[in-house]
Amino acid sequence: MLTLMSLLLFMLVLTNLTLLGSSRLAFCIRTVAVQGVVLGLVPLFGLQPFTLQHGLLSLCAIILKGGIFPWLLLRGLRVARVKREVEPFIGFNVSLSIGFFTLIGSVIFASRLPLTGNNNTLIIALAIFTMLTGLLLLVSRRKALSMVLGYLVLENGIYCLGTAVADHIPMVVEFGVLLDVWVAVFGMGIAMYQINREFDHTDVDRLTELRG
């Protein structure tokens, strides 16, 4: 079991770094989908005693993040007719380097957290790393779709943190959170469609009608 777990965590790191370094949006969407599936599997491997409810929750998360979200976003991509992230505010190589340093920083930070009796330090470190990756994507990219991906990666990080630190969270809440994320992505998709229709582009930095 331990090796399988390490494989999943390795995949998590890899997907984050891939996202930071690639410009092709369709590829990024698929990478986020893989990350969603990986994170859906993490709670099933020995973190908590397996119950039917946990299994159901994981299944929902995997279907949503690995199937429905990428389908929605790829459709949005086709409608908006964009292929790549061009000239992000922070270049791909720089983002990637920042990513490496963030990873090291997260591991050091997590090892110093006062979580007594919790041996999930590595998962917590990677959760923090994933959240920071999401934030970096949010602030450094230009296309509306990249922002949605950044938000999804941030949510993935929080989900991961949740599996590591919180065993008190009731099922209703977990499903509520999942539902909220679903509606959020759906809403952002509609917003993207409307932006494309009204402005004929989806460059977020060119939305400057409102200021002051």
Partner: protein, 488 residues
């Protein structure tokens, strides 16, 4: 009686379902009003008639109403009632002129009731995770209320709102997770993250709990429009239709602040002192009072002006939360007063904007002469907002000053007074030409009954609470303030 809480959640849902059966544009708005009035009736019969019946619990403890959430429920229903009545007036011309077709009218009202549902859920949820789910849902539902008229500016505002608030609220969820993590293994009696259980629990890891509060403050603070994460607020408020702007300012921001109050109470109780949260509240409060001042002074758009004033007032409420029990009392009173004054101002700004065809301050001149009803409403709202005497905001700001002196927070008091003085002058400078200047449109005599009713009712309440605070309300507020403090 406590099963009444379920009714609060069922009524808006029933309205949403019924809306799909209706055919005529105006009926949708009447339906919304009817549902909100039903909610009001429940509040009157179930809660206000017998305030001692609080706290009440139902659905296995998942729904919970105490004095603090009860007070916010009251403010919420006041804002929604006023907004639903005003919508009849505001959308009248758009419906007649065909700018608002049947499908859009239906969508507007379903979203309006949907937002009511999500906010009710936020207030009634006993579980801090569910409270978060409700708050995040308010963002998703209300985003589409901003862009009900799909103009480019509205879509831009909606996008910024959706992204900034979703990311902000995500941070608040880290706060919820850290609260759970800070519960040490031996914390017994906490099964479902119920607020009522969490506040009694002992053996928290204090450092993690403090970190949790920081995340909640920043996360929910983004949604509450606290500086420096307020940037979505002027855009969203200025682009939304009049009743929606009023609901945003009048209650949605307060709902987010309510979530922060709950977390603060938890932290204060666990640490047995309010020192930690107080300092943060004072800091964020003062930032939110001072930063908007410059924007108000040089603002050219009436609705953006009001939006910045909302940031200031939310700052005042936050400041009060950091000034001990007397401060909490002042904050909660200020919540009600600000919500009434700001709804009134946004109603006036919305209608004046429709009549003049723009919200530019330069173009709105001599409103008192040309559109007497909305001129009076704007005058009343703005004079109340800057804190002039017979209006009730003066009283809550006076309580605030008293609380600051009692607490010995001299520096905070000076910055607070300086901030509101600058805003006083700035708003006065902006409003005088709008109200008394040389008019540029023809005088409009006719006003609809719904418009008159809403203006008269809100002005009366603002004046009434400025002169007299009934004893039962005083007692109720004291109970709510004690809960917000969390120390008893």
């Amino acid at each position: 009686m406590s099963s009444l809480l379920i009714l609060f959640l069922l009524i808006p849902l029933a309205g949403i379902a019924l809306a799909s059966r209706l055919r005529r544009g105006k009926h949708f708005f009447l339906l919304s009003l009817a549902m909100v009035l039903l909610d009001d009736l429940c509040l009157l019969v179930g809660v206000l008639k017998l305030p001692t019946s609080l706290p009440m619990k139902t659905a296995d403890g998942w729904l919970y109403l105490d004095a603090l959430s009860g007070w916010h429920l009251l403010v919420m229903l006041l804002v929604y009632t006023a907004g639903s009545v005003f919508a009849l007036d505001y959308f009248h011309n758009d419906l007649a002129g065909g700018r608002l077709n049947r499908a859009t009218a239906r969508r507007y009202n379903q979203l309006w009731l949907g937002s009511l549902w999500t906010m009710t859920l936020t207030l009634l949820a006993n579980n801090i995770g569910l409270m978060w789910v409700g708050m995040e849902a308010t963002t998703l539902v209300t985003a589409f209320l901003i862009s009900i008229y799909a103009t480019p500016a509205a879509i831009e505002a909606m996008w910024k709102y959706l992204i900034i608030c979703s990311v902000g609220i995500a941070f608040a969820f880290i706060g919820v997770l850290l609260v759970t993590a800070s519960l040490q293994a031996d914390a017994s009696g906490v099964h479902q993250l119920f607020f009522t259980e969490l506040i009694k629990a002992t053996g928290y890891n204090h450092m993690l709990l403090k970190a949790a509060f920081l995340f909640s403050l920043v996360g929910f603070g983004t949604k509450a429009g606290l500086a420096p994460t307020h940037t979505w607020l002027p855009d969203a408020h200025s682009q939304a239709p009049g009743p929606v702007s009023a609901m945003f300012s009048g209650f949605m921001l307060n709902a987010a602040l309510y979530c922060i109050m709950r977390h603060a109470a938890l932290v204060n109780h666990a640490l047995a002192s309010d020192q930690f949260t107080s300092r943060l509240f004072v800091l964020f409060g003062l930032l939110s009072i001072t930063i908007p001042a410059a924007f108000i002074l040089y603002q050219r758009d009436l609705k953006r002006l009001l939006a910045y004033s909302s940031i200031e007032h939310l700052g005042i409420i936050t400041l009060g939360l950091g000034l001990g029990p007397a401060g909490c009392f002042a904050s909660l009173l200020h919540t009600l007063n600000h919500s009434m004054a700001k709804s009134l101002s946004f109603f006036a700004a919305g209608r004046l904007g429709q009549i003049h065809g723009t919200h530019k301050i330069q173009q709105i001149r001599g409103a008192l002469h040309s559109t007497p009803l909305w001129g009076v409403a704007l005058a009343g709202g703005l004079f109340a907002l800057i804190g002039t005497a017979p209006f009730s905001i003066f009283i809550s700001e006076y309580f605030m000053v008293k609380a600051a002196i009692g607490r010995g927070a001299t520096v905070a008091l000076i910055i607070f007074l300086l901030g509101i003085s600058v805003i006083f002058v700035a708003l006065l400078k902006q409003m005088i030409p709008m109200l008394w200047g040389e008019g540029n449109i023809e005088r409009q005599e006719s006003s609809s009954w719904s418009g008159i009713m809403v203006v008269v009712a809100l002005l009366t309440l603002l004046l009434f609470f400025g002169i007299y605070l009934p004893l039962p309300m005083h007692n109720f507020l004291n109970r709510a303030a004690a809960l917000a403090g969390g120390l008893q």
